[in-house]
Symmetry: C2
Subunit: 159 residues, 2 copies
Amino acid sequence: MADDDVTADPSPAGRYDEALGYLVKHVHLAHQRASDAALAPLGLTSRDLGVVRVIATGAATSQQEIGALLGIDRTSMVAMLDDLEDRGLVRRQPSPHDRRRNVLALTPEGERTYQDAEREIAVVDAKFLEPLSSNDSRRFARALRTLLDAADGADRGPG
Amino acid sequence: MADDDVTADPSPAGRYDEALGYLVKHVHLAHQRASDAALAPLGLTSRDLGVVRVIATGAATSQQEIGALLGIDRTSMVAMLDDLEDRGLVRRQPSPHDRRRNVLALTPEGERTYQDAEREIAVVDAKFLEPLSSNDSRRFARALRTLLDAADGADRGPG
DNA sequence: TATTGTTATACTCTATAACTATA
DNA sequence: TATAGTTATAGAGTATAACAATA
């Protein structure tokens, strides 16, 4: 492993792993890896859980609404929900008010799996935040919320 | 438990957008969107900048080393570096010590583009962190660093 | 005419395997 | 035999366009 000393300059502009973008991205990936590993025994990915959670909390009911909240294309929603429905976790019901729309609901088994998944994720989150004091953990979560609200607002343009 | 009611329960387990995983993921995506938009005029993606930054800071020199630091497969590195080399930003030089290895270096134009890119990203970061006090911004970055170090250590197993 | 869900298609990113040239 | 880079190929994930049913 002899270092090639082609590069005389050790660090002209900070270290590559100090950049905010690097940190945020890899913290995300680390959390996602941990989540996917914890959810695998339940047959869910963290992506699946996002969808199931939106249905469980009633934040949205139609396929496109759910996708919009999570940044998932409506065409991708079809395959995901096909899968979750085939496995008996969710149910599509035509809306009585607008028969174009599918109202999504969890089956009893879907509800059980969702509760199990949230318990697993609570463990993942606790382990993930363990290196921070409980004060710093709260501050961290609050900072994320603040940054996301500001960024989403900026995306839609100032005004 | 007769909770066959479609959406009787408004929020049995918190809101979907309060989950740590959701927050971290979407903060990452928002920062990446802002970065990609700021770098587009330079012809770089945030992914490109990651590679260029590792080369510029001398953190790694061979293709596989760079990929390992950033979590990019060696086969993906080939196409990325082909592109950056075609555009005259990086140069592959066979290592004199091990002629299987390519030592990557920035061309003068690559160095200029890299400096421009870091300036753009500094603006993106400042805008992104603007909703936090400078104290909270520092705490936020420190928390990210702490979490990432702990998570990466855990990935490799305790011990 | 517009919208929801759907299908088909393409394009990007990533993952696996095999090849070459070096070691 | 093992490794760095490369190529080919297949697999996800996502995006675009078109279609059917409904509004």
